[in-house]
């Protein structure tokens, strides 16, 4: 067992490293299952317990707002590991029993059922949950989109030809609008910010993506907040802060997520907007506790403070790094500073984003397709590239990654497309 008495004043005193015999991974989504499988890939022969709050075997979330909503994929196809594969890998899976508490001195996780699971090393992979809607809403017709059952419920509701109102024009909200519009449904998107998607993509690409949506018939109310969602039992109307009433049969709220750290309250872990980790994935205060995925705050290339990056590839990379490092003494561990990558699909067009721009970074187009519809742009500040995006041009990704990784100047990035 690792001695935790050495944890004082928020500073970890590294104990002599002994490889763990028992690893518990809390969170059975992408980051969790990939960590568990990765430990076996790295030759770990001890016990692995994978704890999941949801009742389903690990599944992939990106298709939920894409292929599943469109009815192109059945839910089975989102599965990340089969029961046979998990059994063959010697991974014990406990589903539908969320972790309720961490007994840090006792080195155990306590589940809702009351079960205690002892560990030598713990991987926190509890993800994030939709930011709760701040007002009361009717019981029927208002959805989040995070879980498998959310996606199938919305997909099924699409079949009843609803008038759709989306609250929040982030990636989830706009992907949902894309899916609904492709199903031929009338869609209205409400977003308090005047420039939706600008925070993620910059004003230039954000505007281009909104224009694409408008061409497919989606209406936007930007710079407008929702004042109330009306309906006695079923939703009927959405009222905006300028008094506008939008008729609605189906409302989907996509206003961001919060990390699932409630069960860790009272531990020594630093929990402000996610579990703080160093570039090896170990938490800042406990050498036996690691964190991966949407719940974790890791260093990001080009940024001083560690931060949560809610991307598929970040979860996978972090899982790979932790599965490697957890079995090794500190001197042999890999350190990463991730370069974030995310994609989003709209009407068959893929927008891919590399890096992490500041909110005020400028946008410059480097290259356009002959028809002008597709383009490559970089975000930059002080003459240096912070992020780059491909708007329907996946073949440009290797160049864009090079530009972002190297912290290229705007001139150097421009030359890549000369």
């Amino acid at each position: 067992m690792t001695d935790v008495a050495g944890v004082t004043g928020g500073q970890a005193v590294a104990p002599d490293h002994r490889p763990p015999d028992r690893v518990v991974v809390v969170g059975a989504s992408l980051a969790g299952v990939r960590t568990a499988l990765g430990l076996r890939r790295n030759g770990f022969a001890g016990t692995i317990t994978l704890v999941g709050a949801e009742p389903w075997l690990p599944y992939d979330r990106p298709p939920l707002s894409k292929q599943v909503l469109l009815g192109e994929w059945t839910p089975d196809r989102t599965r990340l590991a089969s029961p046979e594969q998990l059994a063959e890998q010697g991974i014990e899976v406990r589903l539908g029993d969320p972790a309720e508490a961490l007994d840090q001195p006792g080195r155990a996780v306590v589940l809702r059922s009351g079960a205690r699971i002892d560990f030598d090393a713990l991987v926190v992979a509890t993800g994030a949950a939709p930011r709760p809607w701040p007002f009361p809403t009717p019981d029927t017709g208002v959805y989040d989109l995070r879980r498998l059952d959310d996606a199938t419920a919305i997909r099924d509701a699409f079949d009843t030809a609803p008038r759709v109102v989306v609250v929040g024009a982030g990636f989830i909200g706009t992907e949902l609008a894309s899916a609904a519009a492709r199903r031929g449904l009338p869609v209205t998107v409400v977003e308090p910010r005047p420039d939706p998607l600008a925070a993620q993509l910059g004003t230039l690409a954000g505007t281009a993506l909104l224009d694409l949506h408008r061409r497919h018939g989606v209406r936007f109310h930007t710079g407008r907040a929702v004042r109330a969602v009306h309906g006695a039992d079923r939703v009927t109307t959405v009222e905006l802060d300028d008094g506008t009433l939008l008729d609605a049969d189906l409302v989907v709220v996509g206003i961001g997520v919060l990390p699932n750290t409630g069960w860790l309250r009272g531990s020594s872990l630093e929990l402000t907007d996610g579990v703080r980790c160093d570039g090896t994935g170990v938490t800042s205060t406990d050498p036996a506790v690691w964190a991966v995925g949407d719940v974790a705050r890791w260093p990001v290339a080009g940024h001083v403070e560690p931060r949560r990056v809610e991307h598929w590839t970040s979860a996978v990379e972090q899982a790979g790094v932790v599965a490697y490092n957890l079995l090794r003494p500190p001197a042999d561990r890999r350190v990463t500073a991730q370069t974030p990558y995310v994609w989003t699909d709209h009407y068959g067009l893929k927008v891919q984003l590399v890096g992490l721009a500041g909110p005020d970074d400028e946008s410059t187009v480097l290259h356009r397709s002959p028809d002008g519809e597709r383009f490559v742009a970089v975000r930059h500040a002080g003459g240096r590239v912070s992020a780059a995006l491909a708007f329907g041009m996946p073949e440009t990704l290797p160049k864009l990654r090079t530009a972002v990784r190297s912290g290229a100047t705007l001139a150097e990035a421009t030359a890549l497309f000369g």
Partner: protein, 65 residues
């Protein structure tokens, strides 16, 4: 000895994670399509395994040639 590399083109979504990880096997063509060698040296087993792991579409298959 060598390895057989296949990409399920019905699943590939052109994320380019494989191009990034193993540029000696995977590349983008000028018109934006993915191209790859169908056989690779055994030395690349770990890199190819990483590429499989990182592929968001889970479209890469690697096996004995």
């Amino acid at each position: 000895m060598s390895l057989r590399v296949a990409v399920d083109r019905a699943h590939c979504e052109l994320h380019g994670q494989c191009v990034e990880r193993v540029p000696s096997v995977f590349r983008f063509t000028d018109d934006g399509d993915l191209d790859h060698l169908t056989e690779a040296d055994d030395d690349l087993a770990d890199d190819l395994s990483d590429a499989q792991f990182l592929c968001p579409a889970q479209a890469i298959e690697v096996g004995p040639a």
